[in-house]
């Protein structure tokens, strides 16, 4: 397998009035665990159900009700940890995070502050041009999601929907290793890709199944290196946390805005105050939500309703053995085995379904050609019609046959496009269609020669002009192709035209 190496990308620099500033970003990504039941109850996690229909007594915080851990959620967290090359803690524990809110029926969220299930890991985030940022993961812990408060249904009352209450989340906490808005978005994208490969989170940001709290601070060039040398966070400046972002685009815009806001304060001689902020996409600005002084005292303590979570190494090993090939490995293999470019390999491995489709097309065929056809023709066409790969009317077997026909010289690239269109709209077996509709490329030089002779004989004036200006030979080639219905081998036609015109 290819061993891909990358250089670190340059941090984003913003030029201020008093000099350059660099950005420092750390993310807390909340990923909804893909499971049928909630973290501590048997209630369904189905999105879009009638309000308050997926609620067990324990989810509603009824008196005397007790949480019982869902083993499936634990397995998914372990799987995610393994996918992020992280340390799995065989002993972890749950803590209560106490605060009052109507969509938090127990009055506390069960989380893992002191002993998370997953420890340190890492994610490689490619940034193009041979660069990639290695982002360190500090921890992943399991916790309950809250419900939903709805304030705009009635002028006087608020409503609460507890369907999401108690759904399992993985909070993936990064180190402050991200150095620009694009890197932040790419990092979220990479996590999403890995978790979709693993099947541990569907990554649906619109439904809120993947959300991020973004910590942003600014520092002067050189400060970050001081932090790296000393692990002293004070070099990184005072951070603000932008809560609950569920769009890659907004993450970038919010970071950009927030960095400039902090720079403006610092350059005015002010101090950034540590606080929690909210991003308003309509106005493209962040606004203070609560200051450090107003921050909740969550009174964390070990949840006495739950025993420590103890898992066995053998169980972790079983999960490890069941992991699929992950994006980085797949990409390296595609580049090595099929000779694909970095770009093509990235596109094809972005989604596991795309990669699987490509592999079927490329199997036993020209990988590069297969990649071209999958990326340019198939993806292009699917995108135009807003179809997913799963909805493709062209199967990998059909597209593979088209690629095979091109490689064998049976059809030209141009004919292949027509054939693709036929398969896309009408279906059928490409090889049979080529035969039945006489689309095979004419490689019989006798037949081509006759056609060339005919065109030359019919156009004496053009022949004279071409002899004076050899560039006009192309016109004869075009006429021959037309006469043969595009089926003549263009290379053979070209060669014959040149020879017959004596050019």
């Amino acid at each position: 397998m290819l061993d891909l190496t990358y250089d670190a990308p340059k941090p984003k620099v913003i030029a201020g009035a008093t000099g350059d500033w660099e950005l420092v970003i750390g993310l807390e990504v909340h990923a909804q665990v893909a499971t049928a039941a909630k973290l501590f109850s048997g209630a369904s996690t189905q999105f879009g159900a009638e309000p308050n229909s997926n609620v067990a007594f324990v989810d509603a915080g009824m008196p005397g009700m007790l949480p019982v851990i869902n083993e499936g959620c634990v397995a998914q967290a372990v799987r995610t940890g393994l996918g992020l090359k992280a340390e799995i803690n065989l002993w972890s524990a749950f803590d209560r995070k106490n605060y009052f809110y109507p969509d938090l029926p127990q009055g506390y969220q069960i989380s893992q502050l002191y002993h998370p299930i997953v420890g340190e890991g890492e994610v490689l985030v490619e940034m193009g041009n041979g660069t990639a940022r290695l982002v360190r993961i500090e921890r992943i812990h399991l916790e309950q999601d809250a419900g939903k408060s709805i304030h705009d249904m009635d002028p006087a009352m608020s409503f609460v929907d507890l369907n999401r209450t108690g759904v399992a989340l993985m909070e993936i906490v990064s180190r402050p290793d991200i150095r620009g808005p694009e890197e932040a978005a790419a990092y979220v994208g990479k996590l999403r890709q890995i978790m979709r490969y693993l099947g541990t989170c569907d990554g649906n940001m619109q439904n809120g199944n993947l959300r991020a709290d973004v910590n942003v601070s600014v520092c002067r060039p050189g400060d970050y290196e001081k932090y790296q040398a000393t692990q002293d966070f004070s070099h990184l400046g005072t951070r603000c946390e932008i809560k609950n972002m569920n769009s890659m685009r907004f993450i970038q815009m919010a970071i950009e805005y927030e960095a400039r806001r902090q720079i403006a304060i610092l350059e005015d001689g002010g101090k950034v105050s540590q606080e929690t902020r909210l991003y308003d996409p309509d106005k493209n600005e962040t606004r203070s939500m609560r200051s450090k002084e107003e921050a909740h005292d969550y009174r964390y303590f070990p949840d006495p309703d739950l025993l420590p979570l103890e898992i066995e190494q053998a169980w972790v090993d079983d999960i490890a053995a069941s992991l699929p090939e992950l994006p980085d490995d797949k990409k390296a293999r595609f580049m090595g085995d099929f000779g694909l470019s970095d770009y093509d390999a990235s596109v094809l491995t972005a989604e596991v379904a795309n990669a699987a489709y490509f592999e079927k097309v490329a199997e036993g065929r020209d990988g590069k050609l297969a990649a071209n056809w999958v990326i340019n023709e198939l993806f292009g066409r699917l995108k135009k019609e807003d179809h997913s790969i799963e909805e493709s009317p062209v199967s990998p077997d059909q597209l593979g046959k088209i690629v095979g026909l091109i490689t064998k010289g049976d059809i030209s690239g141009k004919i292949a496009k027509d054939l693709f269109e036929i398969i896309y709209t009408e279906g059928g077996d490409p090889e049979e269609i080529v035969e039945a509709r006489g689309m095979k490329q004419v490689t019989d030089t006798g037949a081509i020669e006759a056609a060339v002779d005919a065109v030359i004989a019919e156009n004496p004036a053009q022949v004279e002009k071409a002899k004076a200006n050899p560039k006009l030979a192309g016109w004869f080639v075009g006429q021959v192709m037309k006469a043969t219905g595009g089926k003549a081998n263009p290379a053979a036609v070209n060669e014959l035209v040149t020879r017959k015109l004596g050019l």
Binding site: G64, L66, N98
Partner: protein, 492 residues
């Protein structure tokens, strides 16, 4: 009133098995006794329809092989959620709350044929040692001196009073720091708190989750064994419930304790302990010695830190457990003024719904868990707890089978007597019992004598974890030796 209600569970069971008694008659006798005992304020919600229905079903099952509790009328502490029946933990904040579910313990009791007479009074959210914090008012001890109303103890005061006054044959209790054993001692009955994890907590309103345990309160040790048998067992719905087989507790009652080693902890001999309690303890020790047990002096050196540690841990957990009573989904919600928001709703609802003692403990708990104090209080208390547990572990490892201590520092005191006292004075009632909860051990209170005023006093036996059978047998031996048969004179 007939004498039927004076029967023990074992006697009623045997009579029913022989066909000499019906549950219907027994249940009617209890319902009648309850109706006449309004002055005790033990039952806060009567369920005669359910009781008659269950009695009828029990009589239909009557026979030599019917389960032990078949047709036995019981009272249920209000802390247990009982389906469709008010379950308020004696708190205004759960006003009108009728659960859609039945606690595991009561489910098991009723599956075993038990009859529910109603819900029993208690201290609000099980916080109290005198049953004076209930939203339903004080429970009165059936024992009296000089016409003074006495406390039955708490928090399971209603259960204690009801069993002592023969309103029911047995009752469920819960014990977080002594709430079964102290009231049992105050009214002259038997009460056992089993090993933490022996009975499911599912469906019992939580006070302090790491300490709460359900247990029976009965007229004698045999009944405690019978009732605990039905209450105990692994429950997958409670992660802290232990998947350990439940032995036949009644079969363990041989009364033979020859060769057993009983420890007498010196730290339980407190300054200012009444001479009567001293004597009770010495007498109990002698009884066990006479029965063939080996008596050894032991030391549990961290005992003196137990009460402070308990009053950090229990309120800490309570402050979190009681956060759900916010007026949003069930129970009481305060009337709001125009313009009031969610914060006002929380504040007014909780101010109106919780009584003073509950508010005090929620505040203590919130304080000890808050940033900056967590290590000094909560974490330190947890370390103390580990040391207390280690004290017991070492004693048991050294061969001690059970530990004998007083159950309470005094006999029952007058209702209202502590009203003006420092709350710590009330907390001192738990001084002999909290260690057992902190260590998760089984403990049983057995009545062994009367004081000079004629009030019952009890001793506590503490056993090895999961060895309730052995503990019950030692208690049985003590009970037989003490021969405590006194009953309160009926005045109600």
């Amino acid at each position: 009133m007939s004498d039927l209600t004076k029967l023990t569970i074992a006697a009623a069971r045997d009579a029913m098995r022989k066909g000499e008694l019906t549950s219907a008659d027994l249940t009617e006798a209890c319902l009648g006794a309850i109706d006449e005992a309004g002055a005790l304020n033990a039952f806060v919600h009567k369920t005669p329809e359910i009781a008659r229905e269950q009695a009828k079903a029990a009589d239909a099952r009557r026979g030599a092989d019917a389960p032990s509790l078949n047709g036995i009328p019981l009272g249920i502490k209000d802390l247990f959620c009982t389906k469709g029946v008010p379950s308020q933990a004696a708190s205004n904040i759960l006003e009108g709350f009728k659960p859609e579910y039945e606690s595991t313990v009561t489910t098991q009791l009723f599956a075993g044929g038990a009859v529910m007479l109603g819900k029993l009074n208690m201290d609000e959210f099980a916080m109290g040692s005198s049953n004076e914090t209930s939203c339903y008012g004080d429970v009165v001890n059936p024992w009296k001196i000089d016409d003074r109303n006495l406390t039955p103890g708490g928090s399971s005061g209603g259960s204690a009073s009801a069993v002592a006054a023969d309103l029911c044959l047995g009752a469920t209790g819960t014990d977080t720091g002594g709430s079964i054993r102290q009231p049992a001692a105050f009214v002259g009955i038997t009460g056992i708190k089993p090993t933490y994890g022996r009975c499911s907590r599912w469906g019992i309103v939580a006070f302090a989750s790491s300490l709460d345990q359900a247990g029976p309160m009965t007229k004698d040790v045999r009944d405690a064994a019978i009732m605990l048998q039905a209450m105990a067992g692994h429950d997958p719905k409670d992660s802290t419930s232990a998947d350990i087989p439940v032995p036949d507790f009644e079969a363990a009652l041989t009364g033979d304790i020859r060769g057993k080693t009983i420890g007498i902890p010196k730290e339980y001999r407190m300054d200012g302990m009444p001479a009567e309690i001293e004597k009770l303890w010495a007498d109990g020790t002698a009884m066990l010695r006479d029965a063939g047990a080996k008596i050894v002096d032991i030391s549990l050196p961290h005992t003196k830190y137990a009460l402070p540690a308990y009053y950090v841990i229990a309120p800490a957990e309570a402050s979190s457990n009681l956060a759900r009573y916010d007026g949003v989904r069930f129970g009481h919600r305060a009337k709001l003024a125009h313009g009031d928001g969610i914060t006002e709703m929380y504040e007014k609802t909780r101010a109106e719904g919780f009584g003073h003692e509950v508010q005090r403990r929620v505040m203590i708990g919130t304080y000890v868990l808050s940033a900056g104090f967590y290590d000094a209080y909560y974490n330190r208390a947890r370390r103390v707890r580990a040391l207390i547990k280690r004290d017991f572990d070492q004693v048991f490892e050294a061969g001690v089978d059970a530990i004998l201590t007083p159950a309470t520092p005094s006999s029952a005191f007058g209702l209202g007597e502590m009203a003006e006292a420092d709350p710590i004075q009330m907390y001192l009632n738990d001084v002999f019992t909290v260690t057992v909860n902190l260590a998760g051990l089984p403990g049983i209170a057995v009545p062994t004598g009367l004081d000079a005023k004629g009030l019952p006093m009890g001793l506590q036996l503490i056993g090895r974890p999961w060895e309730e059978a052995d503990l019950l047998n030692v208690a049985y031996s003590l009970e037989r030796a003490a021969g405590f048969v006194a009953k309160p004179a009926r005045w109600w």
